[in-house]
Symmetry: C2
């Protein structure tokens, strides 16, 4: 006797995206809010609650009509308990554990399950998006950092809870320092954050670039993917070089991962991935192929189809799938 409506909330470093979906996973209502930069985890949980409330109003339904809510978060997510630890990019959450599922459940008056953000986005693409035809997939989410998710033989592979860190595949063992502190990680070349630092260094060393002028003109405090796109459209050499290097690093790390796992498909997502896929997909494929041990049968290189809503729609799957760690399990009756 359920209407099959579910809520999904994607907690990101900059924004909270909420969605209400129907039985066919179609978004009936959406809402977006800024991730609070003060107040710590309780303020963030409140912003997530507000966003889902708005999405429900947008869909024209009551929160109490939802069958359940799934959320996804950065950091170390214990999917069994819904506790999120060390979501280092979020205010007040570095080195801290917070019972996110319980807090959201109390505020929303419903059962909430919480999963890891890139795992949920990968699951969304696997179940509903670009990777639907495949039984295994590597998800690569290219944004400020580069996250990864794995589905092997229909089931999320999370290892001991920390698998999927393709951004920290080494591409140059004595190379550039990564935001994580190690050297030569793919993210040190491909992450939007690392690209911005490299652009700033080039600028400080006298290289001409429009990037920071564009940033000022637009009143932004960071080089967004949109600003990178504008600079590339203007033929900015620094932007071109850094983008080429980022795509080289991405393709190299994907090649290494495919050599190890031999998955039939790779899905590229994330803010940078979705924006730049049309422009860089061929180069990415070329760099991946350069490093494949077996070049005869490369994996399909796909682009995420669920777009900005992928994390939230993927998270809403948690309501149907029980534990996020076992996507193949049938849904318990709720």
């Amino acid at each position: 006797m359920t209407n099959g409506l579910r809520g999904g909330i994607d907690l990101g470093g900059a924004k909270v995206q909420a969605v209400v979906v129907d039985q066919e996973h179609r978004p009936l209502g959406t809402a977006r809010g800024a991730t609070p930069r003060e107040g710590g985890p309780p303020a963030i949980a409140e912003a997530m609650t507000q966003a889902l409330g708005e999405a429900a109003r947008d869909a024209g339904v009551e929160l109490s009509a939802l069958q359940g809510v799934g959320a996804c978060s950065p950091g170390d997510v214990d999917e069994a308990t819904g506790v999120v630890t060390n979501a280092a990019n979020l205010n007040g959450w570095a080195g801290v554990s917070f019972p996110l599922a319980e807090e959201l459940g109390r505020r929303l008056g419903t059962t909430v399950r919480v999963g890891n953000d890139v795992n949920m986005a990968t699951l969304g693409e696997f179940r509903l998006g670009a990777a639907k035809p495949y039984d295994s997939v590597l998800g690569v989410f290219w944004g400020t950092g580069v996250g990864g998710g794995l589905i092997l033989d229909g089931k999320p592979w999370t290892g001991r809870g920390g698998a999927g860190e393709i951004g920290h595949t080494v591409v140059e063992r004595h190379g550039r320092r990564c935001p994580c502190g190690n050297h030569g990680c793919m993210e040190a070349y491909a992450g939007r954050g690392a690209m911005e630092r490299a652009a700033r260094e080039a600028h400080e060393h006298g290289r001409k670039t429009r990037l920071f002028k564009l940033m000022e003109e637009r009143g932004r405090d960071r080089l967004t993917s949109g600003l990178w796109e504008r600079a590339l459209d203007h033929g900015d050499k620094v932007a071109e070089e850094l983008m080429d290097d980022a795509v080289d690093a991405l393709g190299t790390a994907i090649g290494s991962a495919v050599n190890l796992l031999d998955v039939p498909a790779v899905v590229l997502g994330g803010g940078m991935g979705i924006r730049f896929a049309p422009r860089v997909r061929d180069d990415l494929q070329r760099h991946m192929l350069e490093h494949l041990f077996n070049k005869d049968d490369p994996p399909a290189l796909l682009v995420a189809e669920l777009g900005d809503l992928g994390g939230a729609i993927g998270a809403a799957l948690l309501v149907l799938e029980g534990q996020g760690s076992d996507a193949a399990a049938p849904a318990p009756a709720t």
Copy 2:
């Protein structure tokens, strides 16, 4: 009414190792032969047959008393059909398919199953050796090249048949050419074959090294792992530098693999791995840790326990486990 005796044959580039094991996987008899350098796959199948015959005599049993035989081979192994394709290092087998299981079965008068060599060695360590306490493991077999095998949640992970190529994890994206033709693979720094080439180049460029003098004195045509050990014992600088670089590359690639898969254990095997583990294990651990994203809970770094017999004992497991691709399946009655 079976005695539980099984045969195992490990086909390598230089040698064939055969074993007869009892129900407890203990070797009752062993034999070793050279891998034929002419005559192609039929001659190689005959040498494998001879070696198993000798192992049976060594064990004091008739071949007809064996419950079955498992074999393992380099190249692309179709475990369902026992056909081996493109075992490029073997005489007459490059680009060629050969029904190895069928040919061995005809010669031996018993059912033969064939698996991939590193997968079987990994399975052996997982079921019977160093990785017994774990439910997932990455096997790293360091020899002339560097092969890898994966067991995830108790089952071999072979992807579309070609998984496990950790030797072709990139460690320097614009780096040294690998025997596989790509650039910057770990094997290009760590494989015994690549190390020999690098030593030869250093020697030709005027670096002093005892390596090639030792090779002549011992009447060898290649730098065996034993020769590397002697050179290191003599404090040979070229050997030390190349070994340090090899261990750095191995640790880097293992770190990348652990970041992606978060397995609880890594087993180091292979001729080089077993010989040099006591000497390099700490450095290997250090290089792996340098590249781990999560340094709090590194995987156990284990050394293969089944030694030279690991491949053959692992292959003999195929008799019990049905398809090599599903180690968790119960044995069918035979």
